[in-house]
Each structure stands twice: as structure tokens, then as C-alpha cells.
């Protein structure tokens, strides 16, 4: 592997990490602020993708579709919050895991009933359909650069909202001591509802953003959900900074691991066995990294300040 290829792979890893961050940010926010495990975050991402694809087809414009997805997924998140989630805020994690598992079953089946079983199409927006040549014969799609930019901007915006605004201060305060905040006259339920809706919107936005690259199909949220959980656990639950760095780490490990593992294995075994063992190890690598990190730092790399 030469230096250019390594650089491109690292870039790929970062970019995949950013996509994961967009999914994980909402999850860690809800988790950290409300101490609520939301397995349904993955299906909210899926709903975002479906809404994005449908709205884009409907309006005839990717951008309008993406824009409309924001209020649509916000509304959808608030609806879910009203119907299901708010009844489980004060329950134990186990109940939350199972209730949100029920939401997964329902929504995965729901999109199949509403949109059919065939994957949906989402063409690349005209404006970003080009690419930059990063190495001979390989274009780096403009759209992926845009995702990088959007992800970084979202990270900055979130940091600003949580650390520098009054709402963010309340959210942080609510996270560490909810009764105290509500004693100060803040409607904590409403605050939670808003955080939840915001988290759902972030997931939906990530889903809509991913549609030109990834397949839009029922169950598409399951894999990103697991990866997003890995991200926030590695990063430290509830911490935006942790989610960001955790996502980059997972993205890099995933991408570089797939490229390097077979080569590493080749040092100790014959080529065909090395390829398969390497590939098997590469798919387990993020979990191995996570287990290792939790072994030495049970609260993750950057636990949220309490």
C-alpha cells in the first residue's frame, strides 16, 4: 500500500466516520440528556431516508426534499415521543430497550407496507454529481466532500448549541439534575421533548443525506444503529465530543481495517486463507476495539462531564 492510497483510505475512513457521527449525534444527545436508550434511532434514520427520497421525487428537487425532510422527521419524532417514548422516561433501561425494539419491529414493517419491498431510487443531485481526482483513475465525489462539510458544520453547531446557548445550558443542567432544573421553573418534560425531536431530526437528516450513496430499503437502519451505538459507547455516552471522535475512530478502523487486515494476515498464513481470515477479522474489528476500550476505560474514551 503506497502513501497516496493510504491517504485516500484515511480520507475515506474520516468521511465514513462523519456519516456515522451524524447518526450517532442524536443518539448520544438523547442518551446523555435523558438517560434513555433509544434502539429506534436506526429506524428514525430509515424513515428520514424514505421521507427524503419520497419528498425529493414529489417536489422534483433533491434540495427541497432534503429541506422538507427536516420538519417532517421532527414532526415524526415528536409524534413518536408523544405516543411511546415519554411513557418510558422514568423506566429502567431494560424497559426502554424493549419498548424501542417494538418500535423497530413496527416501523420496519410499516415502511414495507407503505413504500413496498423494492428499494427506492435517489439520484445524485445535479449540482454535486461531479468529483475531484484524488489519485489516478479515482474520483472523490463532490457529494462526499459535501457530507464531510455538512458533518463538520453539524458538529460545530451542536457544540455551540450545547455549550454556548441558554437552551444548551438547560439541557446540560437537566442531564445532571432534572429535579433541580424543574424546581427552577423550567418545564423539564418540554425540554426533553424538544431534545428528543431534535435527535430524531438529526437521524432523519443523516438518513436523507445518505440516500444518494446507500440503498433505501426496509431494515436499512439496523446496521447503522449498531455502529452508532459502538460509536457512542467508545466515545463516552452523552458526550458530543466523544461521539465525534468515536465516530472518526470507528470510521477509520472500519475502512483501514478492511484494507490492511488481509495484508497483515498474509504475513502469517497463505494468501487465500489470509484474505478470508483477514476479512472475517476486519468485520469483527470495531467490536474488538470496543471491547478493548471498555475493558480499560469502562466509561468510554471521553465520558461526559457530570
Amino acid at each position: 500500500m503506497n502513501a497516496t492510497l493510504l491517504f485516500v483510505q484515511a480520507l475515506n475512513g474520516l468521511q465514513f466516520g462523519i456519516l456515522l457521527f451524524l447518526i450517532a449525534a442524536g443518539l448520544t444527545l438523547v442518551f446523555g440528556v435523558m438517560d434513555f436508550i433509544n434502539l429506534a434511532h436506526g429506524v428514525q434514520y430509515m424513515v428520514g431516508a424514505y421521507l427524503g427520497a419520497t419528498l425529493a421525487a414529489w417536489t422534483g428537487s433533491f434540495w427541497l426534499g432534503l429541506l422538507l425532510t427536516l420538519p417532517a422527521t421532527l414532526g415524526f419524532g415528536l409524534l413518536l415521543e408523544f405516543l411511546v417514548f415519554r411513557h418510558f422516561y422514568d423506566r429502567d433501561h431494560l424497559s426502554q430497550v424493549l419498548a424501542t425494539f417494538g418500535v423497530i419491529l413496527f416501523l420496519n414493517e410499516g415502511v414495507r407496507v407503505v413504500f413496498g419491498t423494492a428499494p427506492l431510487q435517489m439520484p445524485m443531485p445535479e449540482l454535486l454529481s461531479g468529483g475531484v481526482t484524488v489519485m489516478d483513475g479515482l474520483l472523490y465525489p463532490t457529494y462526499r466532500i459535501a457530507i464531510l462539510a455538512v458533518g463538520l458544520a453539524t458538529a460545530g453547531l451542536l457544540w455551540f448549541l450545547v455549550e454556548r446557548t441558554r437552551a444548551g445550558m438547560l439541557v446540560r443542567a437537566g442531564a445532571s439534575n432534572a429535579p433541580m432544573v424543574s424546581a427552577l421553573g423550567v418545564d423539564i418534560r418540554r425540554l426533553f421533548m424538544l431534545v428528543f425531536g431534535f435527535g430524531a431530526m438529526l437521524a432523519g437528516f443523516a438518513g436523507a443525506l445518505a440516500t444518494p450513496i446507500l440503498s433505501v430499503e426496509p431494515g436499512m437502519g439496523d446496521t447503522p444503529l449498531i455502529l452508532a451505538f459502538v460509536v457512542i459507547v467508545i466515545g463516552g455516552i452523552g458526550s458530543i465530543r466523544g461521539a465525534f471522535l468515536g465516530a472518526l475512530l470507528v470510521g477509520l478502523v472500519e475502512t483501514l481495517g478492511r484494507g490492511l487486515m488481509p495484508d497483515l494476515m498474509r504475513l502469517v498464513m497463505d494468501p487465500s486463507a489470509a484474505r478470508q481470515t483477514g476479512a472475517a477479522l476486519a468485520s469483527m474489528l470495531v467490536y474488538i476495539v470496543m471491547a478493548a476500550i471498555l475493558t480499560f476505560r469502562p466509561a468510554g474514551l471521553f465520558p461526559a462531564r457530570r
Binding site: 442518551f31 436508550i37 411511546v84 411513557h87 418510558f88 423506566r91 433501561h93 431494560l94 424497559s95 430497550v97 424493549l98 419498548a99 425494539f101 417494538g102 418500535v103 423497530i104 419491529l105 413496527f106 416501523l107 420496519n108 414493517e109 410499516g110 414495507r112 407496507v113 439496523d222 449498531i226 451505538f229 459502538v230 459507547v233 455516552i237 478470508q276 481470515t277 476479512a279 472475517a280 468485520s283 469483527m284 467490536y287 474488538i288 470496543m290 471491547a291 471498555l294 475493558t295 469502562p298 466509561a299 468510554g300
Partner: protein
């Protein structure tokens, strides 16, 4: 209250024993009942961790998977004698549980959920890449495990009662464990770790032993699952399957193994019944799950008490 913990399971065991003679004797009914009993066993083992030790595992399907794949590996090596297969499978799953548990139990709460999920996923990917055992396509067992060289387990009725006997055995074992000094310490730890520690109990060791025992029972359930379906595939190890198992435990109630038993039976039968009603049965099953979790705080086992 104590009587219910034994009376309800006894009634269930009697019903299961009588079922083949009360119009549920056809092969497919027995297949369904065997499936229910096998998952009952798995749920009971999981309840030892969840209810007993207060640890929520989202990777329990891997225990069944290790047990089931032990059958496959031995079958491939032409070892099909139950007195070889069962101890090896149990040892393998107990060892898997002990090794992964040794790492996982260092964490707690959400982190424990996630790390068990991670180990479950590793097991899933590992079995998917086992080329000689069919990889993702799975492995068809052309004969069931043999008992002293006889093919008695091929008989549906014999298999039914084998499952029932082992189910009773597992239930008795877990029930006895929870009532023993070991079980009381385990609960004391999950209720108040600091106090337990102050009294001089080392939580880590107790939890690890409980986790390994749960793994062993899960492995036994895996052996039966492999024999019941005569087929083993990585699909048995998905995290969704672990979620199903967890739901069985909660549906029944975490107060003891009788809850898990009821939960598993109810889960399998409701699933079967709903799948008959409509192709889109998950549209009903999902909300039903949510409502169960919301309203049945003590699970089915706690039902009459709520009044």
C-alpha cells in the same frame, strides 16, 4: 407468594407432558412446542443473568449459537453420541461465556448491554466465515444426536419429552441456585453493590459464575435447537434474536425462572398465532410489545398480584 413460583411451572410442565395426548400430537404441533420449550430453556438461563444478577445481556443468542455449532463441529467429525456432544457443547458455551463474561462483567449498565452485543456480533461474524460448516448458508444435520448409538431422538414424541425433561431440569437448577446462598448473594449484589461489597462479597466472581452457568444452559438449549431444526446457521446468532430472548424474559417477569418460562411460551405462541392472522403481523407485534412493557411491570408472572 412463594407457591406461585412452583405451582405455575408445575402446571405448565404437566400441560406440556399431556399436550401430545390432548390433540397436539401431530408433528408440527410438537415442532412448535419443542421450539417453545427450547426458547423457554434459553430464557430461563437469561433470567439468571437479568433477574438474578441484574445484568442485561444483548448477546445471549451467541450462547445458543455456540451450543448449536458445537453439534455441527462434532457432526462434521462424525461424533454424534449424546454423551459426547452434550457435555462438549455445554463446556464450549460455558467457556465462551466465561471468557467474554470475564471482560464484560468489568462494566455495568448500558456498557454491559453494549459489550455483550459486541461479543454477540463477533460470534455472528465468526460463524458466518466458517467455510467448512457452510458459512452463512448454514449446515444441514443429516441425523440427530444419538443416544447410546440409538436414533431415539429422531422420534418426535421422544424428542418432545427429552426437551421437557431438560427444561424441567434447567428450571429446577436455576430455581435452586436462586434460592441458595449463592442466589441470595447474587441478588443482594444487584440490589446494592456497595453494601454487598462492604459485607465482604466480591461481586465480580459471583456474577461471572452466574454468567458462565447461564452460558452453559444456553448452550444446552442450542444443542436442542440444532436437533429440533436439524439445521444450524449464523441466523441463530443475530442480535435481533438476542432481543427476542430478552423480551421473553421481560414479558414473563424477572422475578424468577417461572417468569422467563411463561414469557418464552407466550412469545412463541403469540408469534405463531399472529403470523397466521396476517403477513404484516409485526405491525401488531411491535405495539403489543410496547404495551406489554408498559403495563406489565412485573411481567405475566406478576399479573394477578396487581389487582
Amino acid at each position: 407468594m412463594r407457591w406461585r413460583e412452583t405451582a405455575v411451572p408445575l402446571a405448565i410442565f404437566l400441560a406440556l407432558a399431556a399436550a401430545p395426548f390432548l390433540g397436539f400430537g401431530q408433528g408440527h404441533s410438537l415442532t412448535l412446542l419443542a421450539r417453545a420449550m427450547i426458547f423457554g430453556m434459553a430464557a430461563i438461563s437469561l433470567s439468571l443473568i437479568v433477574g438474578g444478577a441484574g445484568l442485561i445481556s444483548l448477546g445471549h443468542a451467541a450462547m445458543l449459537g455456540v451450543g448449536a455449532y458445537a453439534v455441527v463441529v462434532l457432526d462434521h467429525a462424525r461424533i454424534t453420541e449424546a454423551w459426547m456432544v452434550i457435555p462438549i457443547a455445554i463446556a464450549a458455551s460455558a467457556a465462551f461465556a466465561a471468557v467474554t463474561g470475564a471482560i464484560a462483567i468489568r462494566t455495568s449498565g448500558v456498557h454491559f448491554i453494549m459489550i455483550t452485543l459486541a461479543f454477540g456480533q463477533m460470534a455472528f461474524f465468526a460463524t458466518s466465515s466458517l467455510a467448512i460448516y457452510g458459512g452463512d448458508d448454514g449446515y444441514t444435520l443429516y441425523s440427530r444426536t444419538e443416544l447410546f448409538g440409538s436414533r431415539a431422538l429422531e422420534g418426535r414424541l421422544f424428542f418432545h419429552f427429552t426437551c421437557l425433561a431438560l427444561l424441567i431440569l434447567c428450571w429446577g437448577l436455576v430455581q435452586a441456585l436462586l434460592l441458595s446462598r449463592f442466589g441470595r448473594v447474587l441478588r443482594a449484589i444487584s440490589e446494592n453493590e456497595t453494601r454487598a461489597r462492604a459485607v465482604g462479597f466480591e461481586p465480580y466472581r459471583y456474577r461471572l459464575v452466574a454468567y458462565a452457568i447461564a452460558g452453559a444452559i444456553g448452550g444446552l438449549a442450542g444443542v436442542l435447537l440444532a436437533n429440533g431444526t436439524e439445521f444450524v446457521a449464523p441466523a441463530y446468532l443475530t442480535w435481533q434474536r438476542s432481543g427476542d430472548l430478552l423480551f421473553m424474559v421481560i414479558l414473563g417477569g424477572t422475578a424468577g425462572p417461572h417468569g422467563a418460562l411463561m414469557g418464552a411460551l407466550a412469545f412463541i405462541l403469540i408469534e405463531e398465532w399472529l403470523a397466521h392472522l396476517t403477513e404484516h403481523w409485526r405491525l401488531i407485534f411491535g405495539p403489543l410489545l410496547i404495551l406489554c412493557v408498559y403495563f406489565l411491570r412485573g411481567g405475566i408472572a406478576g399479573l394477578p398480584r396487581r389487582g
